[in-house]
Amino acid sequence: MKDQRLETRVDTQTIKIEARKAQVYYGTNHAIKDVDVDIMDKTVTAFIGPSGCGKSTFLRCLNRMNDTIPSCRVEGSITLEGESIYDPRVDPVQLRARIGMVFQKPNPFPKSIYDNVAYGPKIHGLTRNKAELDAIVESCLRKAALWNEVKDRLQAPGTGLSGGQQQRLCIARAITTSPEVLLMDEPCSALDPIATAQVEELIDELRSQFSVVIVTHSMQQAARVSQRTAFFHLGNLVEFGETGQIFTNPKDPRTESYISGRIG
């Protein structure tokens, strides 16, 4: 595993995902308007903004999860390493193995902890035998900082863990397929402060291997974990830049109002 990681390590300034003039419609409702975003490799990008501003919607465009909503329509161009992800030749199922996702609420499957983590490798046929599968399960649980807590009860149901453990289990599950990008939709909103701190620490560690995109309601969290921040408001991308610059010296007055608590 380590060798593979070294091989795939590239310059941190490579653009992983590039969105240009992205539009999203729910029926007649124009939810995302003209969004241009570059997601850098090995970087944590935070999407912030008030509720209903479209940040989760945009996140779900990046791995085509919006395909599961019948009335949803996406226009504009979104590319992963230069290839359009909405090209008809792209299989959304394969795409989602390359761009993993962690959801707002922990959603472990009603299976054992082991089977939860082994789910991705099993359906994609990533392993040749049980030993390899065991190795992937262990390394992913270790990366998700959960191994020590669950190593003695891998066959216990995943739904029996605490909220924070469940969310780390979901993160472990999401990284088993070695995705290139990890999308996180408010991963800490259902967690207590201690579990939140653990997950944030984890995000920072994951940055060395993946590009991470995180949607968050908490500006402190965005400031703590991200290197780049995008501020969405009413379906528009208002401002996108270095996290430090967005929080200390915003260019747009709307960003300034939001981070100082006047809108939102």
Binding site: R98, G100, N107
Partner: protein, 482 residues
């Protein structure tokens, strides 16, 4: 006073109680309702409830208990020496009841019935013209019993009317006496409503208990006349009303289970797959008309399914499968009944499973799809395992429905009790035999009729066990997502 009139009077008293109670409350505070604990209608309501409800309950209880008391009284008057050969006192009581009803009818027409009581011949003739046909002339003791039944019936009715009215008036007075500005009428109404709701649920429970008890008593009666070991372990079902019957339940249980299993083999895959289609793949507009269309199947009367089995499916199976394969040439077969019954229970499986699959949180599907699973992998590996306990519950409910089905079996599988593996053979089930043992003019004393209760009790235990298992599984499933 007739019952309807009595109820009307009680209702009028209740309305009066409402108006008076409300007025009294308002008058006590001289129109300033802010000084009352509750709004004025509550004072009226509690008075009306106290007036009407206890009296209604008294009437209901009286009407239930009255026949029991009166009949034992009349039964004692019947002279055992006068009983015709082969007739028990209970059977004579049926005559007594009919004569009494006939006399009441004549009296209601304004005829003088006193001379009729003196002459049995005239009485029989008069009753014949009134539409009550008696086999023989009533004996003197029957007449005495009839007269006693009628007179004590009248007395009892009068006593009930008086008691109900007194109780209603007492309730009214009690309700009015309690009205004071600080009386918490609102809370009292609430309390009263709770007791009423509790009584309603008690009726359902007591009815179940009553049904089980009656089954149980008659079954015990049956097992006194017929050995239980024979009933449960004999493989021959051959009732003979002359006596010497062989009443083994095994062929019937076998038929029941065989038909139900075939029905489930048909219904479970079809129902489950259509549920998966509806819940996971169908668009909203498709679902909007497909789901009700499937549920229409559940609304078709079973006798119509029976006709379908008798006229279409049975001959079809015989001509194209059973005869060519040399498996028999009966158009009634287990297969016919099983197939048609399977179609009947499809909506039970599909509709319940559809609801259960829909109840699986969307987040689980998202999680699986987000890992790059296809929809069918998601359904097989995540959605169905999550919904499985509920689906098992749905299947068990469908099974208990199939086990209790009668009409389709009579028309599709025939009425011949036998133990056979051949699905194209005519067989029959427990329910069908219950019907055939009880139809016709038979008395409830021989094992041939009483066996119906033992059969019913066995069936009840079977479906009860299935329902309990289903409930336990469904409950376990609910706990998982809360």
């Amino acid at each position: 006073m007739s019952l309807g009139l009595l109820l009307l009077v009680l209702l009028a008293l209740a309305v009066a109680g409402y108006v008076i109670g409300r007025r009294k409350a308002v008058a006590q505070v001289e129109g300033d309702i802010r000084k009352l604990h509750s709004l004025p209608p509550f004072y009226g309501r509690i008075t009306a409830l106290l007036t009407a409800v206890p009296a209604f309950f008294l009437i209901a209880a009286w009407l239930l208990a009255q026949p029991l008391f009166l009949e034992t009284k009349a039964l004692n008057l019947i002279n055992p020496a006068e009983l015709p050969a082969g007739k028990s006192a209970e059977l004579v009581m049926a005559d007594v009841r009919r004569v009494a009803a006939g006399l009441d009818m004549l009296a209601a027409r304004g005829q003088d019935v006193t001379p009729l009581l003196a002459s049995p011949t005239a009485l029989k003739a008069a009753l014949n013209t009134a539409g009550v046909v008696l086999e023989t002339e009533p004996t003197p003791s029957t007449l005495a019993a009839t007269a006693a039944l009628r007179s004590s019936g009248d007395t009892s009715r009068l006593a009930m009317t008086i008691a109900a009215l007194v109780l209603a008036l007492a309730g009214l007075a009690f309700g009015l006496s309690r009205i004071k500005p600080e009386y918490r009428a609102r809370n009292a109404t609430e309390q009263f409503a709770m007791w009423l709701l509790m009584a309603s649920s008690l009726i359902a429970v007591l009815t179940t208990v009553g049904i089980v008890a009656s089954l149980l008593f008659e079954s015990i009666h049956f097992f006194r006349l017929y050995p239980a070991s024979e009933f449960f372990f004999s493989t021959v079902w051959k009732p003979q009303f002359g006596g010497g019957s062989q009443l083994g339940i095994l062929p019937l249980l076998w038929g029941t289970l065989y038909v139900s299993v075939i029905a489930l083999v048909v219904a479970v895959p079809i129902g489950l797959m259509s549920a998966i289609y509806l819940a996971e793949y169908a668009s909203r507009s498709t679902r909007a008309w497909v789901k009700p269309a499937i549920e229409i199947l559940a609304g078709i009367p079973t006798i119509v399914y029976g006709l379908f089995a008798l006229v279409t499916v049975g001959p079809l199976l015989r001509d194209y499968f059973a005869s060519p394969l040399g498996l028999g040439n009966s158009s009634s077969s287990v297969m016919t009944a099983g197939l048609v019954m399977g179609i009947m229970v499809i909506p039970f499986v599909s509709s319940l499973s559809d609801d259960i699959i829909n109840a699986v949180p969307q987040s689980l599907r998202d999680g699986s799809l987000g890992l790059g699973a296809t929809p069918s992998e998601t359904i097989k590996q995540v959605v169905i395992p999550a919904a499985l306990p509920g689906i098992v519950g749905a299947v068990l409910l469908a099974a208990s429905r199939a086990i209790g089905e009668t009409m389709i079996v009579v028309m599709g599988a025939g009425a011949a009790a036998q133990l056979s593996m051949n699905p194209f053979e005519a067989m029959t089930t427990v329910t069908v035999k219950i019907v055939s043992q009880l139809t016709g003019d038979t008395e409830f004393a021989s094992p041939e009729t009483l066996v119906a209760f033992a059969l019913g009790l066995t069936l009840f235990c079977l479906t009860l066990a299935l329902n309990i298992v289903a409930l336990v599984i469904v409950r376990k499933y609910r706990e998982q997502y809360e």
